[in-house]
């Protein structure tokens, strides 16, 4: 089989490579060719998954959709891959769908696994698992998060070939200002995760949660309602609309457990829930439940940790 991975520029490379490899690994066989396409990237000497047979890169030119899609078409005509697998970042998702539409290839987005020639993803707010038999060639994009970092075997002896993109004029964006630089997603690879939900009640309670996180060495995430209320950054949303996580330990405070959120924590080894509502759906999806006021529990945990001199 011939694979083509596509990684958009400006993303964290290690999580992207790990994600792509974990999806590919179950179907990859000896003798398969795996090309890594890196539009918008310069050449870099680095270790890659051992299965990668070549890298095609464009150099550090801005990689707009109008330039990348024709560049991909050019590579497809030469490589004739069976599977095009896009890292599911903002650009990766867009490129996957639009390239598939132009090429009339079947397209499956937010794929979390490949098994026996089928693409696996969740749907209906993760109540259901979706399986589609792959027909080739096909286009896939990966789900965001929920993968382990790292890949078992590496190589730095992969040939890098520069293939420039054609220059394209566009008047669509007249002016652009960066408001915030991209930061490494703290949720990816987090081993200990605490999540703030709307049930915390107010922004000030989130400050306590962040204090708790610092004392107990947890990474902080937010349910979508909490983040869109401005209690935390939108980039730290846990769930189907944000990041899927796979921590060793996850504790939630004031999270009701909408299915779209549960999709973001279902791979956690252990889930502890603190909520005052005994009917909250989240209690059906956790290991340990605490029926108590979230703020009172946070206050007590913070106080205990400080008393113990930690």
């Amino acid at each position: 089989m011939k694979w083509l991975w596509v990684i958009p520029p400006q993303v964290e490379l290690d999580p992207a490579l790990a994600t792509l490899w974990q999806i590919t690994a179950s179907q990859h066989q000896m003798g398969d060719t795996l090309t890594l396409g890196m539009p918008g990237w310069g050449k870099a000497t680095r270790r890659l998954p051992a299965a990668v047979t070549q890298v095609l890169y464009t150099g550090d030119a801005p990689a707009s959709t109008d330039k990348v899609l024709p560049w991909l078409r050019q590579q497809i005509n030469i490589l004739r891959p069976d599977v095009l697998l896009f890292y599911g970042s903002v650009s990766g998702q867009e490129w996957a769908v639009r390239f598939a539409a132009r090429s009339r290839f079947p397209c499956y987005t937010q794929v979390s696994a490949l098994e026996a020639g089928r693409a696996i993803r969740s749907c209906c707010s993760s109540y259901l698992q979706w399986e589609s038999r792959l027909t080739y060639p096909c286009v896939l994009s990966t789900a965001r998060g929920g993968f382990q970092l790292g890949y078992p075997q590496c190589t730095d002896a992969v040939p890098w070939t520069k293939v420039p993109m054609l220059s394209v004029q566009s008047n669509f964006i007249r002016a652009q200002t960066q408001l915030e630089a991209a930061v490494k997603n703290p949720l990816e690879g987090a081993k200990r995760l605490v999540v703030a939900g709307r049930g915390l009640g107010k922004r000030e309670s989130c400050e306590k949660l962040r204090q708790f996180a610092q004392l107990y060495q947890f990474t902080v995430g937010y349910s979508r309602p909490a983040a869109t209320n401005g209690w935390g950054p939108l980039e730290s949303v846990v769930g189907q609309s944000g990041t899927l996580t796979a921590p060793e330990l996850c504790i939630t405070f004031g999270v009701s457990g909408a299915a779209a959120f549960l999709a973001g924590v279902k791979q956690a080894k252990q889930i502890i829930v603190v909520n005052t509502d005994p009917d909250a759906p989240i209690f059906r999806h956790c290991d340990i439940g605490v029926l108590a006021d979230a703020e009172a529990v946070l206050d007590a945990l913070i106080s205990k940790r400080k008393k113990e001199g930690m």
Binding site: P9, V90, Q93, E94, V97, R98, A101, R102, P106, T109, Q110, R118, S122, C123, C124, S125, S126, Y127, L128, Q129, W130, E131, N171, I173, R174, A175, Q176, T177, Q178, L179, A182, V183, Y216, Q217, R224, P225, A227, T228, N229, L234, V237, S241, G242, L249, A258, K266, R284, H285, C286, D287, I288, G289, V290, L291, A292, A296, V297, A300, L301, K304
Partner: protein, 257 residues
Amino acid sequence: MRILVCFKVLPEFETVLESDWKNFTPQTDITYARRALNCFDASALEIALRIKDTLQTQGKEVLCHAATLGTALPAFVRKMLYAVGFGQVILLQAEQPEFASTAVAEQLAGLAREGQYDMILTGKQAGYADTGKVPYLLAEQLRMPILPEVQMVEAVDNGMEVTHQTDAGLYCSTIQLPAILSVGNSPVNAMRAATLLAQLQAAKVPLEQRQVTLWEEEVPRLSYVQSEKTCTMLPEDTVASQVESLYELLKIEGDAR
């Protein structure tokens, strides 16, 4: 200016019976489940209304339409959309529109071409499938540029100022129309409420309904994902005793006992 917002009303999946999930097919009747606007579409609808407010205060004419594709539209949604200021609410009525992203995008594109809209707003993903494909397929069908992961849009003199998330970070871009804007996680997280008077007046405004036929797309194999976890509740004696138990679980490896 002509603005179209594509939206979807979904069942609240938490209210669907487990027995229906276990035997679920796209034909399973879950009309008993509560319905609500998809959260991203609610943001898109409110953003459109805010743009309309801004342009109207500048004396500019604005037409704001809302369109959905589905088997039916709950009356409360129709009334709400008219009451908050949408000039037209359109239902493209089709059987089994789920798991048919390409066909849905084709129909919405047809509507958009007919209406000659300057700006199309959508939520980033919705529906049973949650694939997030329709906005991009719409862009391909209409050959329009698209900005995904939009958080905010404001009307400015020379176009629209859009705050949007990219792989490189958060950007503010001034864009030229026509364009498609796909709204993601946004601080504009709900659509405004209408006054009672507006709702009463809106009750009389009819829905524009058009029958469309979708070509069949492959339906995936669907299976219910049961939770493997069984919850153990900590005894509810006092917060202090609960915290003692929690503390042991939360201690960092290597902490002194």
